[in-house]
Symmetry: C3
Subunit: 257 residues, 3 copies
């Protein structure tokens, strides 16, 4: 189900539940709306974004949905969110993973972006009959931690900013790196993909080096990193990606050497 | 019709269609709303923004509307969009140009900002009786391309990022610079003004040098570039403009030399 | 009243006016909504944000509300705004101060963010019976100006950008530094806290040095500056704060020396 804008319309001819789904996403324009305002945008959406971008190899449609959701949540682009939540679920992103992506982005793009996404996601989950047992609990088992790598990270932060920003350093260790990142509902590789996508979308160039390296340590391949940039060009915009590419290049070249 | 916030109210005394126009823009505050919360903001809006900024020479009210629409779309500031779409049309921005601005900003500020603008623009177009024949078609004639300049651009991107971001490089050439920028519904000078405005609004300093030079190659004058920064100070905020000014200065001084 | 999400629910059992307050903030998720989508986010909100962050010493809950409102307005995060406007009033931020914060952020984060906040704030003010006599007038007395410091600032801007951005330089002097900053409805220290919060939230690193120094000249202490970064980490997101910390460190170390 890659034909995303079209697919909603097509599905709605077949599913009785669609009138409410459509109403919930009322502000998201259909292709017909797009054609009324910009036939060119409808054309690029159908022929380039749906017809080419989402079908490119090197990054699965599931991963493209992870990247796209991360951009929409990090930029608070709520109009498209119901559509892309449904597409993500169709593309194999699990409800529990969406739940974790939202929580992860509370920390990596600001609390109110996450709470804004909660209301919209709740409506989508309800429409699809997604229930509490599909969502990871608040507390429970944690993934094992790489103590050596975490010590290096924590010491670096402590040395640089421990005196002038003790609170930030403390929460970084206690809540982010010793808890959030170890939650098993989303793999570290996916958390990294979410993080890098949000960093590009919000223009946080200075943080990309650390997190892209971490992403690749966590299993993101060079081809996937490269192709994530293509997806981000369309959803975060060309300038954001061109501003990120020098850092991406530096990371990839250093790791190749 | 420069008195924009006031003008809506004034117009509405005279036009029967206004009740629906007003309803559509229901969330946009009136001067009366502003006075209830911040008489100072109402005062600055009337006396400084309407009374001075929009009347300054060196940039026409039509161009100021192009800059302002670009900021609102690039930052997804939907509350003010209906008002400024109407003002832009009153200031001489053609419906087809608005259509092209939205499509252009899909690429230069992220797809969901454009689709968000589509729904709002459709309602404004309908209220004003703007029909499909006033909107550029998806495909058709293209402006001639400067092959030498495009070869320099494409080679630069290929050398820098061709290996690590092949997809971005390919779509940049095929879709942006050999198609989007050549669409005749918006002049290259206006596309550049839209692009530079979006870059300042989204803080993409590293991309301003190339695009401001391109804007001036495309016919934007020094006085217009300078005055666009004044308009952007109010609509994108002072800090975004002060962060952009060192690059603007460098570009203007190099071209003067 | 620090238990903010919970407090709304609790209050609503006691106050008959709450049904309308709740309806106005309908899109803001409750803890129950959060638990349906992400029990982890609800847990972090209750136990870390409410349970720890807002109770930390070194920054009052009143100042935390100033920082948080500034982020929400500067990023146009309207869903959370009604809740945090009410919390800010409960925490001792005066209606007139909220009025001035909105106007200040028109200049420091773009006009449409302020007008967007006006509509939401008007509804909150009405529900709480806040009337016009509690709001500062558009014109009136101004605080005394430090002519020497203002001359240094104005000369610096004039030398750097006077020729290439005369309009920006002129409005900076006439409207911002000789009028807005001198409005008595918000102390210069609070205006600085609002400004620095907005700069971090919008990633305007290059402007933080000047404004953090100004904030401390205006009375913000080192401990408050440091703890504001902790508050910003949660509300603007970790990456924005980590991108700001090198400048914060430089400012604090220079002033210590």
């Amino acid at each position: 189900m890659k034909l995303f804008l079209l697919s909603t319309l097509t599905l709605c001819a077949a599913l009785s539940a669609c009138s409410t789904v459509q109403r919930n996403a009322a502000t998201a324009p259909t292709l017909s709306d797009m054609n009324a305002v910009s036939p060119a945008l409808a054309h690029y959406t159908e022929d380039v974004v749906i017809g080419e971008l989402w079908k490119r190899p090197d990054l699965s449609s599931r991963d493209r949905s992870v990247v796209t959701l991360s951009v929409l949540i990090a930029l608070n682009q709520t109009v498209e969110l119901p559509y892309h939540l449904n597409l993500a679920l169709d593309n194999g992103v699990k409800p529990g993973e969406i739940s974790e992506i939202i929580t992860h982005l509370a920390f990596y793009s600001g609390w109110a972006n996450a709470t804004s996404a909660v209301g919209i996601t709740k409506a989508v989950f309800e429409k699809r009959g997604i229930t509490a047992d599909q969502i990871p609990p608040a507390v429970g088992d944690r993934l094992p931690i790489d103590e050596a790598a975490e010590a290096r990270r924590a010491n670096g932060v402590q040395q640089n900013f421990g005196r002038i920003a003790a609170g930030v350093a403390q929460f970084s260790t206690d809540v982010l790196f010793r808890d959030l990142w170890l939650r098993p509902g989303l793999t570290p590789r996916d958390r990294s993909l979410v993080t890098v996508s949000a960093l590009v979308a919000t223009g946080q160039i200075a943080q990309i080096g650390y997190h892209l390296n971490r992403a690749m340590d966590n299993g993101l391949t060079r081809a996937q990193a490269s192709e994530a940039m293509t997806q981000l060009a369309f959803y975060a915009g060309w300038p954001k990606v061109f501003s990120a590419l020098p850092v991406v290049k530096e990371v990839l070249e250093k790791r190749a050497g």
